[in-house]
């Protein structure tokens, strides 16, 4: 059934293609003296867009429809007119074959000879096979014309493969540089964590011990407590550098840990059928970490919701908070996240109108 619907739709597209080919032929002949007029190109572009719709192509892939002056669209129309006319000829052949078959069957049904032929077993068999073969060839022709049209449109309206490669290389170079920058800023943060937190504690601790050695023995108690604090601080810093639990426990558990340590209530809804690749898990974890930290620190949020789920071959991470909004995607932490996500060819979006709420979305392809 579905195949039949698909076939009919394809046939209709080819029929329509023949009609538009004739219309475009007239348009091209009519506007030939005015080539170079921007309105002509703009119309050519509009016609090309209609063709792309007829061929059910993804318009976003066809840059000739949006970029440039429409010259490429004009070239495409000139090239597709003959293909459209070829489609018309194939359709005519189909019509001719079908109508001949119907008339033959009708004449023989009334017991009259058709074109001087009287039905006999060998003749009926021969005509049946020949008719079936002809029908098959003609239908293949219709499908072929349609496939040819689609290829032609993609080729002439889509980006040039070399350009596409160059664009990709530029993208990769950018994301590579971004990752290096992100790693550097992470390291700066780690150094600061160690210096501002842990090292001060340890110096203070050895000062306490030093003082108690100079006769204030009652300070030993305090020094002991200070040592415990320093250990806790070390654990925190190490966990911020890389959550070791992520490897062993998986994303869900690690995110539950983030929720526990957050000063603002965090609701985590992590639904993953199977564990995504390590790089994706890590990126998802850091996206949530940074977003939660930001929401608690800068937005004054009272509730943060974290959703992680699969969408096709990608993992989608969404963090919402009910805070005051106004988060800048170009800010230090968020731009680092954007780079991390870009390195995995993912998408990263921040919507944060003034007054909130803020939603941070990362789509991380797995594969």
């Amino acid at each position: 059934m579905r195949a039949a619907v698909e076939g009919l739709r394809l046939g209709a597209a080819v029929v329509l293609g023949t009609v538009t080919a004739l219309a475009e032929l007239l348009f091209l002949l009519f506007t030939l003296p005015f080539l170079g007029n921007p309105n002509v190109w703009a119309t050519a572009r509009r016609l090309a867009r209609l063709e792309a719709r007829r061929l059910r192509l993804d318009l976003s892939e066809l840059d000739a429809l949006t970029e440039g002056r429409g010259k490429r669209a004009g070239g495409y129309l000139a090239t597709r007119v003959p293909v459209g006319i070829l489609g018309g000829l194939v359709l005519w052949l189909l019509w001719f074959g079908l109508s001949t078959g119907v008339r033959l069957a009708a004449a023989w049904g009334r017991g009259e000879p058709f074109d001087g032929m009287v039905p006999s077993v060998p003749l009926v068999t021969y005509l049946g096979v020949a008719g079936f073969l002809g029908l098959f060839l003609v239908l293949s022709g219709v499908a072929g014309v349609h496939a040819l049209e689609r290829r032609l449109a993609r080729r002439m309206l889509g980006p040039d493969p070399t350009q596409a490669l160059q664009r990709r290389i530029a993208e990769l170079a950018e994301s590579r540089a971004g990752i290096v920058a992100a790693v550097d800023s992470e390291r700066r943060r780690i150094e600061r964590d160690l210096h501002d937190g842990l090292q001060q504690r340890l110096v203070a601790l050895s000062m306490l011990i030093g003082r108690s050695l100079r006769g204030r023995t009652e300070l030993m108690h305090q020094a002991h407590q200070e040592a415990q604090q320093a250990l806790a601080e070390l654990r925190e810093v190490a966990w911020r550098v890389y959550p070791s639990g992520l490897d062993s426990l998986g994303l869900g558990e690690a995110l539950a840990g983030v929720a526990e340590r957050s000063s603002v209530p965090v609701k985590v809804d992590c639904r993953l059928e199977e564990r995504p690749p390590m790089a994706v898990e890590t990126a998802a974890y850091f996206v949530v970490c940074e977003a939660v930290t930001n929401a608690a620190k800068h937005a004054g949020a009272t509730l943060i919701t974290v959703e992680v789920h699969e969408e096709g071959p990608a993992v989608v991470v969404r963090v919402r908070d009910d805070g005051s909004g106004g988060a800048q995607a170009s800010g230090g932490g968020l731009s680092g996240l954007a780079r991390r996500v870009a390195a995995l060819d993912g998408r990263f979006e921040v919507t944060s109108p003034a007054g909130g709420p803020t939603t941070i979305t990362a789509v991380l392809p797995c594969g």
Partner: protein
């Protein structure tokens, strides 16, 4: 003596204040950034300031810049700088302003309470105190450079301690040799370094360090 502290870590600042009070010093002010330090010095006229290099807002060298400004405006105020790392540029910048009564210690040294207090006393008395680690690194960087390479191992040990601001007597104690032996080493290394023989030990330190800087 009267000490003003500038340190952004509350924990450490409080600890230092307690320690200094226990040791019988006065602490008229303890602040957490460079600007407040300059203001506090203007107000309280302390004998010495102890200042952390890295402080808000940029956490780079605010403390040091404040220290240099204080030296410029009130040369009578002694300065002891606490630094996260050995920053050769900072050390030499402090010393190049023709000073006596400066010190440059690694922050960790504060934990060795005795050493820290000694250094504080030395600087306050118009001497100098450079962290052994700072001196070691400055020396290490110049090993390829003559004429230091001409020094014997023993002379090098003496020079390091001298650079920290120790007197001949304390060097002799540290190295377990007689004071006259130390004087002999000092004379021979001054000869090797072409330095005029002076008596003020802080000038010795500066001479040595200027030499290292050259």
């Amino acid at each position: 003596m009267r000490v003003i502290l500038a340190e952004d870590s509350t924990l450490l600042r409080e600890g230092l204040v307690r320690l200094l009070l226990e040791e019988g010093h006065e602490v008229p002010a303890a602040v957490s950034d460079g600007q407040a330090l300059v203001a506090a010095v203007d107000e309280h006229r302390p004998d010495i300031v102890v200042v952390d290099v890295r402080m808000p807002p940029t956490h780079t060298d605010e403390g040091l810049r404040a220290a240099l400004e204080i030296r410029r405006r009130r040369p009578e105020v002694k300065v002891l700088v606490l630094s996260q790392y050995v920053e050769k540029r900072y050390a030499t910048e402090l010393m190049s302003s023709d000073v006596e009564g400066v010190g440059y210690l690694l922050k960790d040294r504060v934990g060795q309470v005795g050493d820290f207090l000694d250094a504080l006393e030395r600087v306050a008395a118009g001497g100098a105190a450079f962290d052994p680690e700072v001196v070691r690194q400055l020396l290490a960087r110049t090993t390829q450079v003559d004429p230091l390479a001409k020094l014997t191992a023993r002379e090098r040990e003496v020079l390091e301690r001298m650079a920290q601001g120790l007197t001949n007597a304390s060097i002799a104690q540290e190295l377990h040799v007689s004071q006259s032996a130390v004087e002999k080493h000092v004379n021979s290394l001054f000869d090797k370094l072409n330095l005029s023989h002076t008596t003020g030990y802080s000038r010795r330190v500066l001479a040595v360090l200027h030499f290292l800087e050259s």
